[in-house]
């Protein structure tokens, strides 16, 4: 089904980091320093850091963004075949034949990610100053956020898979800490555990992948692996690809490891924006694009990626159609959009740059919308139910306008960033396989439906506010990041101007083959816009033209019930994993108690029993002892005679 890339994948051959690139380590070190100061220094300072510590937590990621920007400009100044820079920090460990260095790799792919993580991250940090203003554990929150940023930067800057793994686990930890930030809420603690456990299942893929890399290549360095990728059997490459896919599914909430993402909305909204929209969940896409030298030699693994991606993009979209919680709709939308990115990544060199393009745009518009949702929640006394919203555009104009920018971007309104990236992905999908392309188009239509539903229920329709709720616009510290992200949602499409992003990523992912889609690109765009318009119209009919009931109706179609139950994802997990796991534990406990313990105790009982029988020989009479002595001596003599005479 999918064509192997023409020619070899581009090699990773970084030049050494001199000049301004020697500051590369600072990008990670600054937020890490922030995390250490706030989390370790916080308790040591006995409360003196609690009032203003968050300002350190904001300043350091901003500084990191400045460094990233400087590095990016320096990278642009180099010629396009000289844009890979590697920095060796120190030797992490040596164990027998394995030597792992703490190496960083800065190339176009990591440059874009650095700007996204530190840029959008800084905006969200600034927003959080306002959002978490009244929280007593604010210092700790910013410490965790900084920890997350440091770990995510490690993930994208690592020059070997072990470094990626370090960052991978770090972001998983930060995600756990931040989802469960309001620890006193049972639902939040449970959601944090669920996210961590499902991520862990995916991490099996990455751990085994690292092991397989060591076995196959003797190292996990990108440089060595990409240079030797064409000498490895396709079976090994397919295995590696599938393992990496499993890891990506866990981190990016793709089917079958998707059920944690909607529960993760228990965390504070800035967390949802940063981790579960813009950055951590995109780590899976990063992994697959970065491992292009593996997937280029494993067409079956690519097929698996495309299948998973297509299923997920529809899955997330369907869930988003029936949820009343504004954050869960956005989470379903994230799942779906990452499905689009994975679809592009699974297509191969034709799709890699568009996967990253959509990833960046998604970072902008999804963070914009999540922060907008946070602004709305702030105004509505932290109520997340859209059935209690309505006509908020009058009360919160800035939030409404910026949210609309994100909305128009995600549905693919012509001219906005999402339009360019999604269209390119659908084009690439149609070129490879018309069925997948049609499904992607249908997904776009469903996206138009559920996002418009969200817009109508929240900002239009009629007021359904609870008594005592007086929504007002959020303070400037929250609206300014919204404005910036709204502008980026509009302007993000500029990255495609003159195919800039395709050429920029060329040294990393390989040349995009010039294959034209089955129908002209313009026709595809028109068809997609029409499908989206149909989706918007349906949403308008049900949620603007008709009144939205304040209580969720109970007699609904099976499709709606299924979507409300997240397509029974939790029930499937329960039957496939939780119940068997419980049975296994039960069985093991029984075995331990009645098997192992019985053996141990049985041995003791046996010794006691034997002893109580044997002790009857101790009669106390000297003569009987003498008789035993005699019997023994006779036996010895007989034995001696037998041996000597035989």
């Amino acid at each position: 089904m999918f064509v192997l890339a023409e020619g070899a994948a581009p090699l990773v051959h970084p030049s050494s980091a001199d000049g301004v690139f020697s500051l590369l380590w600072l990008v990670i070190a600054l937020p890490l320093l922030g995390a250490v100061i706030l989390l370790v220094g916080g308790p040591l300072a006995k409360g003196r850091l609690d009032r203003h510590g968050h300002l350190i937590g904001v300043a350091l990621p901003v500084l990191s963004f400045v460094v990233s920007l400087v590095l990016f400009i320096a990278l642009l100044g180099r010629s396009s075949d000289d844009r890979q820079v590697g920095q060796h920090l120190y030797t992490w460990f040596e164990a027998g034949g394995l030597k792992v260095g703490a190496d960083l790799l800065y190339d176009p792919l990591s440059a874009l990610f650095l700007l996204l993580i530190t840029g959008v991250g800084s905006l969200i940090h600034i927003y959080s100053v306002g959002y978490m203003e009244h929280d007593p554990r604010r210092r700790r929150f910013f410490g965790y956020l900084n920890l997350f940023v440091a770990a995510m930067l490690t993930l994208v800057l690592a020059a070997n898979y072990l470094g990626v793994f370090l960052g991978w686990e770090g972001v998983g930890l930060a995600s756990y800490l931040l989802i469960g930030f309001w620890q006193y809420k049972h639902s939040a603690a449970a959601a944090a555990k669920k996210a961590f456990i499902l991520n862990r299942v995916g991490d099996i893929g990455l751990s085994l992948g690292v092991g397989l890399f060591f076995v196959t290549f003797g190292t996990t360095d990108f440089t060595t692996i990409s240079a030797n990728a064409d000498r490895v059997s396709e079976g090994t490459m397919t295995a590696l690809g599938l393992l990496l896919l499993l890891a990506a599914c866990g981190k990016s909430a793709q089917v079958p490891l998707q059920s944690w993402l909607l529960d993760a909305m228990e965390g504070p909204t800035p967390v949802s924006a940063l981790i579960h929209a813009a950055t951590m969940v995109t780590a899976g896409v990063y992994l697959i694009v970065r491992s292009n030298f593996v997937f280029d030699y494993a067409p079956h693994a690519r097929t698996a990626v495309v299948v998973v991606a297509t299923v997920t993009l529809l899955w997330g979209a369907i869930i988003g159609c029936a949820k009343d919680d504004i954050k869960k709709v956005l989470a379903g939308s994230t799942m779906s959009q990452i499905g689009y990115m994975m679809l592009a990544a699974g297509i191969g060199p034709a799709g890699y740059p568009f996967a990253i393009f959509h990833l960046l745009n998604h970072g902008f518009f999804k963070a914009d919308m999540f922060l907008g949702a946070g602004s709305v929640m702030h105004a509505m006394d932290d109520d997340v139910d859209m059935r209690h919203y309505g006509l908020l555009r009058k009360a919160m104009p800035i939030t409404f306008v910026t949210f609309s920018m994100g909305y128009l971007a995600i549905i693919g309104f012509p001219g906005f960033s999402g339009f360019w990236s999604k269209d390119k992905i659908i084009e690439a999908a149609l070129t490879q396989n018309w069925f997948v392309g049609v499904l992607a188009m249908i997904g776009a239509g469903i996206t138009g439906f559920y996002m418009s539903r969200l817009m109508f229920m929240t900002f239009f329709s009629k007021k359904r506010w609870a008594d005592g709720v007086h929504p007002h616009e959020s303070p400037a510290v929250m609206t300014i990041p919204l404005i910036v992200l709204g502008a980026l949602s509009v302007l993000g499409g500029l990255m495609l101007a003159g195919d800039w992003i395709v050429d920029f990523l060329d040294p990393v992912v390989g040349t995009t083959p010039e294959e034209s889609p089955p129908i002209p690109a313009l026709a595809i765009s028109v068809i997609v816009v029409l499908i989206v318009a149909v989706g918007v119209a349906v949403a308008w009919y049900f949620f603007q033209r008709q009144d939205v009931p304040r209580e969720a109706p109970h007699d609904v179609s099976f499709a709606t019930r299924a979507a409300r139950a997240e397509l029974y994802g939790n029930e499937i997990n329960d039957v496939l994993a939780v119940q068997p796991g419980g049975q296994l534990v039960h069985g093991l406990t029984l075995f331990d108690r009645h098997g192992v313990d019985a053996v141990v105790e049985g041995t003791a009982l046996g010794a006691v029993g034997t002893g109580s029988v044997v002790r009857l020989a101790q009669t106390g009479y000297v003569r009987s002892y003498a008789l035993s002595l005699l019997a023994g001596a006779v036996l010895v003599v007989v034995a001696l005679l037998a041996v000597n005479l035989a």
Binding site: Q618, T619, Y621, V622, R623, L630
Partner: protein, 97 residues
């Protein structure tokens, strides 16, 4: 050779039977001495047969050990007799299950 070995065995058997059947501790001791002397006789006889002195040296060792053992054994019997007023081996049977 044979008469000496036969005599030694007869003496040894008499000593064995005595140890197993007599009730008085002193008599048991005498039977033990009888067994030791029987083995001495056998040792000396075999030493004469081999033509070297090894058996006779060993007999000396046995006699020394027998003497030491008598000292200790009689001391124990004396102590038991003083405390329990009885020299019967059947009475000292407290170390039983």
């Amino acid at each position: 050779m044979t008469p000496y070995v036969v005599l030694s065995s007869i003496l040894f058997t008499i000593g064995c039977v005595g140890v197993l059947t007599r009730r008085n501790a002193i008599v048991v001791f005498m039977c033990v001495e009888l067994m030791l002397n029987a083995s001495n006789l056998a040792l000396v006889a075999f030493s004469k047969q081999h033509g070297d002195l090894e058996g006779q040296i060993t007999a000396f060792f046995v006699m020394v050990v027998a003497a030491a053992e008598v000292v200790v054994g009689l001391a124990i019997i004396m102590t038991i007799f003083r405390t329990r007023r009885s020299a019967s081996v059947d009475d000292a049977s407290l170390l039983k299950y």
